[in-house]
Amino acid sequence: MKLAALKKVRVVFSILYFLSIFTLFIDFTQLIPEKIYDSLLFFQFIPSLLSFINGFAIAATGFLLILVLTIIFGRVYCSFICPLGILQDIFSYLSKKIQRLKRYRYVYIKPFRWIRYSFLGIGILGILTGITVIVSFLDPYSIFGRISSGLIRPLFVKGNNILTAIFQKFDIYTFYIVDLKPLQWSVIFVSVFFLLLILSFSVFKGRLYCNTICPVGTFLGLFSKFSWFKIKIDKNTCTSCRLCERVCKAGCINIASQEVEYDRCVNCFNCLTVCPVNSVQYIPATKTKNVRETKKNKSKQNNRRQFFALLALIFTARKTRSQTIEVSNTATFPAKRKVAVSPPGSVSIDDFNSACTACHLCVSACPTHVLQPAYTDYGFIGFMQPVLDNHTGFCNFDCIKCGEVCPTGAIDLLELDKKRQTQIGIAQFVKQNCIVETEGTDCGACAEHCPTKAVRMVPYQDNLVIPEVTDNICIGCGACEYACPTTPYKAIYVEGNAIHQIAQKPEEEQQKKVVEDDFPF
């Protein structure tokens, strides 16, 4: 196989993989099976790393494989697997078409090591301290997820709705309208910021983002520096025509010294396709002179040692924290949620906050749209992480979708039976706000929706019935809060459990069959 074919392999693979992941975030039909989520997201570095740390070692070794791949082949992750990286390639490619920018437009860029290692340091600090919100801002997969879920998915949904409306006029009901929930502007702002950042970087400077800001890129660069396979410029044949430098998105080929800076090379293989004298090669390091290798081996070991030390630190030194907040407005009798409600399977708010990178895959996949990006619900520590918003929906009793799709282990996949008993919060009845109390009429919307009958109607004055909550069978799904018709505040709301509990099963009392033998009328 000619080496130039490697670029084609890269392009085909990355496009297919990109589209698959993109589809996961765009999908509003909820038809994609769990297995596909698992296998597609297995190799995403940060989610896999966090999942590993969170104790799902066997299932979450994707990041280890990436490290092995990096040691063998270099930063293939960045060009083949990272959706944000591929997105940048797409932007670069399109900008070439649209703006008629020259293909040979890149030049060698100096490494900006201080910036790179600072961001890497911040990222590692985020993981060590469990302040995952920092990681959320930096993880390329999660940034891509938020852009897809928050900015692009709504466009697809709108498109679907327009088409559906047209089909409906022709009596075709195969498609259906998908309602869009209100946007959390602060989260959208962050997504737009990163989209613009990446767009401008990729259009003018190729993979500059990956080599300055992205901590995953920098981290993998520590390994790719010593990778077995490398891009090599044969100094004997190189004519210094600079074509390779001009197509290098990473700006890591310095033709003045005829060297490639491997910690920044993203293995796009563009350089292999342009060299007129086949001087650029992708070959195992063993084929080169041994003199320099011994020196490098030493630092490689050093690096390995550092990595294991780092892993040890990660396992021992994680710290978590939480913060209480106020959700509702303030007026007559505002229902105040002191503790936010985190998704079932997140075990506790602390666990969740430190494990979730806010990729918003669950926000996209949640069938009832009860999962929404948080603003200050968890405090700053959980900014952008999904939180149950019972104004947009409620947690379906028989659904474990968020656990199925979560790639970081922030939301455990619960058995359905266990989920039905997982108490993420407890309903609080505010009698002063209740229709039965204020209007003196029947209502019962809350009890109607309750899947466990933790909220039920009990006799009240004037032949009325009023809600009553049985705490130990309530699971905090929020169906009552969602259904409650009072305005502007609800008369029943869920107070989150900072640590999720197990609820009792509602009692099933068999009834004696008393059906009269005759017609009762």
């Binding site: 309208i177 029947d442 039920r456 009072t486 009328f521």
Partner: protein
């Protein structure tokens, strides 16, 4: 105007014209057709399977032809409110729905639609209730009801508390409306049957809950009389309604009630349930508004035991 805008506007204009034309039929629908030819005011069947009891009831009513004419469009409105399996009887029996649709097509119906504005996630309700499959198997179109865009505002001139509501377009556009509730206990309305089932054809139910639920149920019953009400009282949820928590909430009563009078049907269902019609407050309220007759002694009832 850019070319693209022009095309989009033209398409929109076309759609609206089409829609306006199809709205032309409204007057006819509100006429509350009087089935003077019906042999009975109410038919009650017991001790059979749901589909077979339906056959008997319709036969007693003079056949489905008394309700569905050749070439007409029919909307069947079951209760698909909850994401539970058919054994839980929180939703209408899928077997019964399938049979009703088959009857409609036998009578020459042009198209049969099925929908509900569900409480749980609609797609899960449609699927797990078994109704989507049962309806499609019988050849009906299963239509979503989960988005406000499917609903149109209508006036309810006779309503006391409820003067307006947004009603699903299928109810407005179809020639025949068949209401197929399942009899269940309900926390605040006491029982849910035919009139309560109509909460599934409107959009904003919270308004009802805020403004005296029982009165709103009765008010809305004045708006549009279903051409036929078929009450599934085979497995009856006698407690923990309307969603139920397990099959232990059910009693197998094996009843089916058919009537074109919602008040009469609900009153008879109350008796089957084991309460007096007055105990479900909306029944006397609707009776007073002239929606129908709750005094079963004044009705011509056919009682069939299988």
């Amino acid at each position: 105007m850019k070319r693209r805008d022009f095309i989009i506007k033209s398409i929109n204009a076309g759609i609206f014209t089409g829609a306006a034309l199809s709205f032309g039929g409204y007057g006819k629908i509100f006429a509350n057709t009087v089935h003077s030819s019906l042999p009975y005011d109410l038919v009650a069947v017991r001790d059979g399977e749901p589909d077979m009891m339906l056959d008997k009831a319709l036969k007693a009513m003079g056949g489905i032809q008394n309700f569905v004419k050749k070439g007409q469009t029919v909307v069947v409105k079951p209760n698909i409110g909850w994401d539970v399996s058919p054994e839980r009887a929180a939703d209408t029996n899928p077997l019964l729905i399938n049979r009703i649709i088959t009857h409609c097509f036998t009578a020459g119906a042009k198209e049969v639609y099925v929908f509900d504005n569900t409480c749980d996630k609609w797609s899960a309700c449609y699927k797990n209730s078994g109704i989507e499959k049962a309806a499609k198997d019988a050849g009906a179109k299963v239509v979503p009801g989960h988005s406000e865009s499917y609903y149109q505002r209508v006036d309810i001139p006779k309503g006391k508390n409820l003067k307006q509501a947004k009603v699903h377009e299928l109810i407005l556009n179809s020639d025949v409306f068949i209401n197929v509730p399942v009899l269940k206990n309900h926390g605040s309305a006491r029982i849910t049957v035919a009139m309560k089932n109509l909460m599934g054809i409107v959009w904003d139910r919270r308004y009802w809950h805020r403004n005296n639920l029982n009165q709103c149920i009765a008010d809305f019953a004045t708006y549009r009389k279903p051409d036929l009400n078929i009450i599934d009282a085979y497995n009856v949820m006698t407690k923990n309604g309307p969603r139920g928590i397990s099959t232990a909430d059910l009693i197998k009563m094996k009843y089916l009630i058919v009537s074109d009078d919602m008040v009469a049907a609900d009153a008879a269902a109350a008796k089957v349930f084991g309460i007096e019609p007055e105990e479900a407050k909306y029944i006397p309220m609707a009776n007073q508004l002239g929606v129908g007759q709750m005094d079963l002694t004044k009705l011509n009832i056919n009682r069939i035991r299988v």
